[in-house]
C-alpha cells in the first residue's frame, strides 16, 4: 500500500521540476492527475489476490482512459468510453504538441497538444516507476525513469535548475527508497516502525543506545547526501561559475573526433530577448572603433519548419591556433578589404557557449583552448572549451564593397554554394515566391533585388517589431508576411527564404549586434542577441543584411550595413549623406550628418548605470581570496562564541541583586526576570566552556552533580571550587527553589571558574576551544537532530488508524517499539 503511493509521490515530485518549461500552470494539474490515476490503479492492483503482472497493463489502460476523458471528451461515447474518434483526436493533438515543441522555446504555452504530451509522458514515467519499484521491487532502478524525467528541464533550459527543484526530486526518490526498505524489512515478520526515541521520558536517549534503528541511519545518509549535493557546490568558492546542472558541450565519439551538441539557437533567441535582466555578455574594442555584428551560428538549412544548422566540421588542420582561417568563400581579390583587429572579452557568467562570437569574416583568431573553424561558414567552435570568460583577439580582412561594385555583380554562384544555400522545401507556399518576385520587379542584379527586399522590410513594407510572434517555418513566415508583425527571427528567416526564391544564396546568422559604446568599450548585452540574413554574391562572398527595424521600436542596436543602403537615385528618400560610403558601418563615428549612424547612446531600454564587467582576477588571487573566505567562514563559530560570552556578561550589569529596591511590584518582577536571565546566562556560559574544552556535560547531570564532578575530578583549588559551586548553587535555586533568594553577581566567579577549567586541559584543547568552539557545533547538531525528528514524525503519520491486535499488551499507539535485527 505504502510503496505504490510513494512511487506516485516520487514521480509527482520529479514532475514538479518541469515547471520552468511552461508559461502557465495548466499542465501541472493534468500531469498530477495522470500520476494519481496510475497510483490509484497501482494501489488497487497490489491488493492480495490480484496477479502481480496485471498492474502495469491496467495502469496503462487507466492512463489512456484518463487522457481520453480529459483531452477528447467530446469524441468519447457518453463522455467516457473512448471511440475511434477519440483516438484520432488524441493523435491529432499529439501531432500538434510535437509541432509546438519544435516551434517554441521554453517556457512554452500550455496549449492542449503540449499538455497532452506532458501528461502522457509523466503518466508513462509513473507506470515505469511503478513497474520497477512496486512490481519488480527494484526501487533503486526506478531512479532511472525519474532521472530521465528530471533531465528534461535540465537539458532544455539554459539556466541551471533551481536547488529547491533538485531537493524536491531527490526527496521523492529517497522517500521511495525508504518505503521500499520498510516493506522489505516488514516481510521479515516483525513490525518495523521507525521512531527515534529521544528526550524526556523516552528510553532510547540520543539514539546512541542499542535501539538505534537501521532505517534511521539510512534516512540520515539520504538527507546528508542531498544536503551535501546542494550545499557543497554553493559553499565551495569555485574559480569559474560551475552550475549544479550545467549542460552543453558533450564529448561523445563521432565523426572526425569529438562532436558537439548543437543547441537550437533560434529556440533560445526569443527566451534571451524576453528575459528580464539585460546582462553584459561581452565587451570588445577594435582598431577603428566601429560596432560590428558578432556572429556565432550560421543556419544553412531550411526544411519548411525551421532554420537549422548542419553539423560543423572542425578538422585538426583548421584549428585557429594553427594559423589563419580558411579564406572566406566567394571573395575575389579585387574587392578592397580593410584590416581590422578586434579584442573581445566574454563575461565569466556565460556558460557552455561552444561557439565564439566573431565578426565576419575572421582571418586570425588568437584564443586559448582548442578552437576549430568550420571551412565553409567560418564558424569557430570547440568541443571542450567554452567561450565564457575568454579574452581573445580577432584579425579581420573585411571586404568593403561599394554599391557600385556590388551592382555590377551578375555571376552565378558556384556549384556547391548554390546546392547548399538555394535549397528550399518543395512544399514552400507559392505565395512567398510570388510576393518576392513582385517586390523585386524592375531590378536586374541580385544585389539590387536584395537591397529592395531589405528596404521593403525596414521601411516600405510597414512592418512592426514585436516579440510576441513565434516560429520561423513556412506557415509562420506566411503569417508574418501577412500580419507584418514579428521580430528578428521572422525578419531574418523571411528575408533569407525570399532571397533563396530569387536564386540568391542565403543563410540565417545568429549572434549579437554591435552593442552600445559605454566607458570606452563596446558593450554587448543579452538583449543584443540577434538574427540576420547573410546573402551570397559571387565575387564578394557573404554579406550581412538587416531587415529588422532598429531603434526604440525595433531591435535597439541593429544597424543597416552601408553597402546595402539604397542608392539615392533609386529611392530618393534619403539625404545625400546617406549615400553609400565604403566599408560596412565604417562611418558609424565619423559621419555626424547621419543620425542613425551616430554611436548610440545608452538606449532608453538599457539601464543607465554601467554594468561592471569582470576583467578577470588572477587565479592565484582567486585561490587566495577563496582561502581567506574559507578562513573567515571557519572563524564564524569562534566569533559567535565571543559575542555570546560578552552578551552574557553584560546581562549582569542590569541584574540588580534581588533585594527589592523599588516599592513597585512590577519592578521587583522585572528584577527577578533579569536576575534569572543573568544566572542562566552564566550557567550556559559555564556549560559551553565545558563543551568547548571537551570536559562534557550530559543533559541528565544536575548543577550540583556537575560542580561536584568538576571539583573532584579536576582537583580545582579552593577558590575555583567555591566559584563553580556558587554558580551551580545559584542556578539550582533559580530553577527549583520557591524563590531564588539573594544571588550575588557571579561574573567574577565565572571568570575564576573559566580560568581554572582552562588550566586543566592541554594547550591544544585550549586553542581549539578558542578557534573552533564545540558548543556552537553542538547547537548546529541539535538543529539537525530536531530536523531529523521532524522527518521521523512525518514517517509516523498514519494514513489509516492502526488495527488493534488482540494479542500482546496494549502498546501505546504513539510509542511504537523499534525492533531491528533478531532476538538476542
Amino acid at each position: 500500500m505504502r510503496l505504490p503511493i510513494m512511487a506516485g509521490l516520487a514521480t509527482a515530485a520529479v514532475a514538479l521540476t518541469l515547471y520552468p518549461l511552461f508559461r502557465e500552470g495548466a499542465w501541472f494539474w493534468t500531469g498530477m492527475g495522470a500520476v494519481l490515476v496510475v497510483a490509484v490503479v497501482s494501489v488497487l492492483t497490489t491488493r492480495p489476490g490480484v496477479p502481480r503482472w496485471l498492474g502495469p497493463p491496467l495502469e496503462l489502460v487507466g492512463l489512456g482512459l484518463y487522457l481520453a476523458v480529459v483531452f477528447a471528451p467530446e469524441a468519447a461515447w457518453g463522455w467516457l468510453v473512448p471511440t475511434t474518434d477519440t483516438l484520432v483526436a488524441l493523435a491529432g493533438l499529439l501531432g500538434e504538441g510535437f509541432a509546438d515543441i519544435q516551434r517554441y522555446a521554453a517556457p512554452v504555452p500550455s496549449n492542449p497538444g503540449i499538455t497532452l504530451l506532458t501528461a502522457g509522458g509523466v503518466g508513462l514515467i509513473a507506470v515505469l516507476v511503478d513497474l520497477l519499484a512496486v512490481r519488480l521491487r527494484r526501487a533503486a532502478l526506478a531512479g532511472l525513469p525519474l532521472l530521465a524525467l528530471f533531465t528534461v528541464p535540465a537539458a532544455v533550459m539554459t539556466d541551471p535548475l533551481g536547488w529547491p527543484a533538485f531537493i524536491l526530486g531527490a526527496l521523492g526518490f529517497v522517500g521511495l527508497l525508504a518505503a521500499d526498505g520498510r516493506e522489505r524489512l516488514s516481510t521479515w515478520g516483525r513490525a518495523v516502525l521507525v521512531r527515534r526515541t529521544r528526550g524526556a521520558g523516552t528510553a532510547g536517549a540520543s539514539g546512541r543506545g542499542e535501539n538505534t534503528p537501521i532505517s534511521l541511519s539510512g534516512k540520515r545518509i539520504g538527507v546528508a547526501a542531498i544536503a551535501l549535493a546542494v550545499g557543497l557546490p554553493a559553499l565551495v568558492p569555485t574559480l569559474a561559475p560551475n552550475p549544479l546542472f550545467g549542460f552543453g558541450v558533450g564529448s561523445g565519439n563521432g565523426e572526425g573526433g569529438n562532436t558537439i551538441t548543437i543547441p537550437d539557437p533560434i529556440a533560445s533567441l526569443r527566451g534571451q530577448l524576453t528575459r528580464n535582466g539585460n546582462d553584459t555578455v561581452l565587451t570588445y574594442g577594435n582598431s577603428d572603433n566601429v560596432p560590428r555584428y558578432l556572429r556565432m551560428y550560421s543556419l544553412d538549412t531550411f526544411d519548411g519548419d525551421r532554420w537549422t544548422m548542419s553539423q560543423p566540421k572542425g578538422r585538426p588542420q583548421n584549428s585557429v591556433a594553427e594559423g589563419p582561417l580558411p579564406p572566406p568563400p566567394g571573395l575575389s581579390p579585387d574587392v578592397p578589404v580593410k584590416e581590422v583587429t578586434t579584442r573581445l572579452q566574454v563575461s565569466d557568467a556565460v556558460e557552455n557557449l561552444s561557439f565564439l562570437p566573431l565578426p565576419y569574416p575572421a582571418n586570425t583568431v588568437r584564443v586559448d583552448g582548442d578552437w576549430r573553424a568550420d571551412e565553409t561558414t567560418l564558424m569557430v567552435f570547440s568541443t571542450h572549451d567554452t567561450a565564457g570568460g575568454q579574452d581573445y583577439e580577432v584579425g579581420q580582412r573585411e571586404p568593403t564593397p561599394t554599391p557600385e561594385l556590388l551592382g555590377e555583380l551578375r555571376g552565378d554562384p558556384v556549384e556547391d554554394v548554390a546546392a547548399r544555400y538555394l535549397d528550399l522545401p518543395a512544399d514552400l507556399p507559392p505565395q512567398i515566391r510570388f510576393l518576392s518576385e513582385r517586390l523585386v520587379s524592375g531590378t536586374d542584379t541580385p544585389y539590387q533585388a536584395a537591397v529592395k527586399l531589405q528596404n521593403w522590410f525596414t521601411s516600405s513594407g510597414g512592418f512592426t517589431y514585436s516579440l510576441q510572434t513565434q516560429g520561423n517555418g513556412s506557415q509562420a513566415l506566411l503569417e508574418f508576411l501577412s500580419n507584418k508583425t514579428g521580430y528578428c527571427e521572422q525578419f531574418a528567416a523571411a528575408m533569407a527564404v525570399m532571397a533563396r526564391t530569387l536564386r540568391i544564396p542565403a543563410r540565417v546568422a545568429i549572434g549579437y549586434t554591435g552593442g552600445t559604446f559605454l566607458d570606452g568599450v563596446w558593450r554587448v548585452r543579452t538583449h543584443d542577441l540577434h538574427a540576420w540574413p547573410e546573402l551570397y554574391f559571387q565575387g564578394v562572398g557573404w554579406l550581412r543584411f538587416e531587415p529588422t527595424p532598429s531603434g526604440g521600436l525595433g531591435q535597439a542596436t541593429a544597424q543597416v550595413p552601408d553597402y546595402s543602403r539604397p542608392p539615392v537615385e533609386v529611392t530618393g528618400t534619403q539625404g545625400p549623406s546617406a549615400g553609400p560610403t565604403p566599408g560596412p558601418d565604417s562611418t558609424g563615428l565619423s559621419d555626424p550628418l547621419n543620425p542613425s549612424r551616430a554611436p548610440r547612446d545608452p538606449d532608453a531600454n538599457l539601464p543607465s548605470t554601467p554594468v561592471v564587467v569582470d576583467t578577470g582576477t588572477p587565479v592565484a588571487a582567486k585561490i587566495g581570496i577563496g582561502l581567506l573566505v574559507l578562513l573567515l567562514i571557519g572563524l564564524v563559530p569562534a566569533l559567535g562564541r565571543v559575542v555570546a560570552r560578552h552578551r552574557r556578561g553584560r546581562v549582569w550589569a542590569h541584574a540588580v541583586p534581588a533585594e527589592v529596591t523599588d516599592a513597585r511590584a512590577g519592578s521587583a518582577e522585572v528584577t527577578a526576570v533579569r536576575l534569572g536571565r543573568a544566572v542562566h546566562g552564566t550557567w550556559r556560559e559555564l556549560i559551553d566552556t565545558l563543551h568547548d574544552l571537551g570536559l562534557g556535560h550530559e543533559l541528565s547531570e544536575t548543577p550540583r552533580a556537575l560542580a561536584r564532578r568538576l571539583v573532584e575530578r579536576h582537583e580545582l583549588d579552593a577558590e575555583a571550587a567555591a566559584a563553580v559551586t556558587r554558580i551551580a548553587w545559584a542556578e539550582e535555586r533559580l530553577r527549583y527553589a520557591r524563590t531564588p533568594g539573594e544571588i550575588p553577581s557571579l561574573k567574577g566567579d565565572l571568570r575564576v571558574a573559566r580560568r581554572a577549567l582552562r588550566a586543566v586541559v592541554s594547550r591544544g584543547r585550549r586553542l581549539r576551544a578558542t578557534l573552533l568552539p564545540a558548543s556552537t557545533l553542538l547547537r548546529l547538531r541539535r538543529a539537525g537532530e530536531s530536523m531529523l525528528d521532524g522527518f521521523d514524525r512525518l514517517e509516523n503519520i498514519r494514513l489509516w488508524p492502526r488495527r488493534d491486535r488482540a494479542e500482546g499488551p496494549a502498546e501505546p499507539a504513539e510509542e511504537p517499539r523499534v525492533l531491528t535485527g533478531s532476538r538476542r
Binding site: 528510553a203 534569572g676 550540583r704 527553589a737 520557591r738
Partner: protein, 334 residues
C-alpha cells in the same frame, strides 16, 4: 521570604532531630550511613520500608534500632506460615462480664511495626497488611479503627527462595515506599561489631532520642518542602521512562510517582533544604522504583536487574533546565 525563613528554622530543628535519631541507630548498625539515612527518609515521607537481604546482616537490628530510638509504641510480628490475618489486625472477643464483643487490637496498632521475614506468611496474611499500610486504618467485623501517626511498617525478607516462603505480590511490593539491601559490612565495621557486640547487645543500651510528637512535627515540616513544577515533570519523565523501557515488562505505577516525590521531599529536608532538586530524585530512584518493576525476558536473558535499568534511565532522562520545566538545551539567556 517569610515562609522560607520559617521553614528554614523548622528545618534546622528537623535536621538536628534526624541527626540524633541517625546517630542512635548508627551506634547499633555500624558503617551503614546510607541505609540509615534512607530509613529516616522513608519515616519522614510517611512510607514503609522493605529491607531485603540475606539472613544475619542486621535487618531486624536496623528495624529495632529505629523503633527504639523513637519514644513510641513499637510492635514486632514474626511472620510464619501459620500466621493468621487476625494475628495482625486484632480480633473481637466476647467479654463475659460486659456481655459485649470487645476489640483486642493486633500488633499493627503501633507507630512502628516490624514485620520480620514477611515472605514466610501466606498471601492471605500478607494482604491483611495492605489496608493498614495504604490507608492507615484497620477494619474488623465492619468497624474501622484509625491507626496512629506516624505509622511505619518495616518489613524484612530474604531474597533467596527458601522453602516455605511466599514471594510478595506486586500489589504489596508497590505499597512499600522503598526497598533497601543492607549489604555486608566493611571489614573494619565488622571488626568493631565483634568488639562491641561481643559483651552485650548495644540495643539494650539504646535510649529514645525523639518523641512521637517530635516525629509528627518533622513529618509536617517535610510536607511543606517546595516541589517546583519542573521537578514534578522530571519525576513523571522518570517513571514514564520505566514504562517505555524495552527492558521492563512492568513499569512504575502512579503510586510510585507519588512515593518518589514524597521521599524526595524528605530527602531534601534531611539535607536542610526547603526545596527539592533533581539530585534528590536521582538518589532515590533506585530504592523507590526498583522493587516495583518486572524486567522483560530479554533483560532477564542479559541478566540486567531492574536496579541497573533504573540507573541507566536516570543517566538518560534530561534534568529540567528552566523554571517552566523542559530540558531546552539552550536556556533562556542564550
Amino acid at each position: 521570604m517569610g515562609i522560607t525563613h520559617d521553614v528554614g528554622q523548622e528545618l534546622g530543628g528537623l535536621v538536628a532531630t534526624a541527626h540524633r535519631i541517625g546517630e542512635a541507630i548508627e551506634s547499633v548498625i555500624e558503617g551503614k550511613r546510607d541505609v540509615v539515612r534512607l530509613t529516616l527518609t522513608v519515616l519522614l515521607a510517611e512510607g514503609h520500608l522493605l529491607i531485603e537481604d540475606v539472613p544475619g546482616v542486621g535487618k531486624t537490628m536496623l528495624a529495632k534500632a529505629l523503633a527504639r530510638s523513637i519514644d513510641c509504641p513499637v510492635r514486632r510480628v514474626q511472620f510464619t506460615p501459620d500466621l493468621l490475618p487476625s494475628d495482625i489486625t486484632g480480633v473481637s472477643a466476647f467479654n463475659q462480664q460486659t456481655r459485649e464483643f470487645e476489640f483486642k487490637p493486633g500488633p499493627v496498632f503501633a507507630n512502628i511495626v516490624v514485620g520480620d521475614e514477611i515472605n514466610r506468611a501466606s498471601p492471605k496474611t500478607q494482604s491483611a497488611l495492605l489496608e493498614c499500610m495504604e490507608e492507615h486504618q484497620v477494619t474488623v467485623d465492619g468497624t474501622t479503627y484509625r491507626l496512629d501517626t506516624p505509622f511505619m511498617v518495616i518489613a524484612t525478607q530474604n531474597p533467596i527462595e527458601m522453602e516455605g516462603t511466599y514471594p510478595l505480590p506486586e500489589a504489596q511490593r508497590d505499597r512499600f515506599t522503598a526497598r533497601i539491601a543492607m549489604g555486608y559490612p566493611e571489614p573494619a565495621a565488622e571488626l568493631e561489631m565483634l568488639d562491641v557486640h561481643g559483651a552485650s547487645s548495644p540495643l539494650d543500651k539504646l535510649e529514645p532520642v525523639a518523641t512521637t510528637a517530635e516525629v509528627r512535627a518533622l513529618i509536617d515540616a517535610v510536607r511543606a518542602v517546595y516541589v517546583s513544577q519542573p521537578i514534578k515533570k522530571y519525576a513523571i519523565d522518570m517513571v514514564t521512562a520505566t514504562r517505555r523501557s524495552p527492558d521492563l515488562r512492568l513499569g512504575a505505577s502512579p503510586r510510585a510517582t507519588l512515593h518518589l516525590v514524597r521521599a524526595a521531599r524528605a530527602h531534601a529536608a534531611l539535607a536542610g533544604r526547603d526545596y527539592v532538586i533533581p539530585d534528590d530524585l536521582q538518589d532515590l530512584a533506585v530504592p523507590v522504583l526498583a522493587h516495583r518493576l518486572l524486567p522483560s525476558l530479554e533483560a532477564q536473558g542479559q541478566r540486567r536487574r531492574p536496579e541497573q535499568v533504573i540507573a541507566d534511565l536516570v543517566r538518560r532522562v534530561p534534568v529540567p533546565e528552566s523554571r517552566e520545566g523542559g530540558a531546552d538545551g539552550a536556556g533562556p539567556a542564550r
